[in-house]
Symmetry: C2
Subunit: 244 residues, 2 copies
């Protein structure tokens, strides 16, 4: 029966885990990622527990366990009382110059991320450039861009880069697009951190960033997408080498 064969093929491919892990682990992972990507930079306060819990769709008890885990890992510090809260104490480390530590076993997933990135980020640029952006949105982009340029060291540069890509996604106004870019950046962070960063690479990447933002601000979808494609392809080439 043909129906059965078709079902086998697509079913294998369409059904996905309904949720990979417990709520607690999910919270830890999401918050840790946000911190490592620099969504919450060193010294920035996290939202209040009640706020976070609501936004992440989780009970406050569970969220608190997650924060406790982050505290245990020295990523955040918590103060009580009015004006208290949880602030980020994590400082990004300089990219390691030796090989690729602890990436084994995830190779397949990481390659998938590269492919998916090639789909999502150029598409996001296209959308972003097609919209008429508010002044605030333009500001978000230019700010993110200059922060990448002015990053004092490699570690800060890496975070600023993630933030720039997230900023681009955010001006699409599309939550699903934003979620995808977040996921991709999270997957790629470790990899990107493992590349030996050459000055040449940074300059090249800076030129590309500028071209991308310029095209988005100028409302040129095709150029924006092409620029982002080039950017993705260039880093992917480096990264694929790293993965053997």
């Amino acid at each position: 029966m043909n129906a059965a064969r078709a079902a086998d093929h697509l079913g294998d491919v369409v059904l996905r885990p309904v949720r990979g892990h417990h709520a607690f682990e999910g919270c830890v992972e999401q918050l840790a990622t946000a911190i490592r990507l620099g969504v919450y930079p060193h010294g920035a306060p996290l939202p209040t527990e009640r706020d976070l819990a609501e936004r992440m769709g989780v009970s406050r008890a569970t969220l608190r366990e997650a924060i406790a885990a982050l505290r245990m890992a020295d990523m955040v510090e918590t103060k009580r009382g009015r004006g208290g809260g949880t602030v980020v104490s994590f400082r990004p480390e300089a990219p390691s110059t030796d090989g690729s530590p602890g990436l084994a076993g995830r190779t397949e997933h990481l390659l998938d991320s590269l492919t998916f990135r090639r789909v999502v980020e150029p598409g996001a640029c296209h959308i972003a450039a097609s919209r008429t952006l508010s002044a605030a949105e333009k500001m978000v982009l230019t700010t993110a861009l200059t922060e990448v340029d002015q990053a004092p060291d490699e570690a800060a540069h890496r975070q600023a880069d993630s933030r720039l890509h997230l900023a681009i996604a955010s001006v699409t106004g599309s939550p699903m697009t934003i979620a995808s870019v977040t996921e991709v950046q999270a997957c790629l962070h470790d990899l990107l951190q493992a590349i030996p960063v050459l000055q040449v690479n940074i300059e090249h990447s800076t030129r590309q960033h500028r071209a991308i933002i310029q095209a988005i601000l100028g409302g040129e979808p095709t150029r924006a997408r092409r620029a982002m494609e080039q950017h993705c392809d260039d880093t992917a080439a480096l990264l694929r080498g790293l993965l053997g």
Copy 2:
């Protein structure tokens, strides 16, 4: 402090619910969607409970509750004993010709889906056309295409259309891409079902499908993407009208 403001903006946008609902509901939704999309067409057997539970990452107890719900909704039938199992008894209904029933309140999410679709599906086409496809993969595409052409009625046509789009995603070989397309198709299914289907539309859409598949099989990424863009834009135009 600048860091704090940046954190506010991106944090608002990056943090997402760790899981929207209970495992049980997630299973029901995912299975029901797969059935309505035609991943498992009328008469096709679902995988065994143990198999499904493992693939969806839930316990068999939970999965069984989900199947019980589907049975209650007359979407599947279950037989015991060797050679038994659960088979799809759901028959797709013809698209309703009256307005848009029960779409209210989800407008925002549906519009988001249209945007995201515009990002993902053309990107997937580009990737698919860039790869060298195996004979089996080519067969999957051509089969899906002819099934759309030969669909006996509107309802079958709708399902075959979904399957074609999923088939394209599946030949990217990228699980993340597949997941995104699945999500998009699931969101759009109700909408697409609510459009009055004109013969003109079907013929137009058939031509586009042919062009897309041809470009993918011919290894022409840019043409494949452009064709899919056109396809997305055309249906999106219809659908946006529907949503007011």
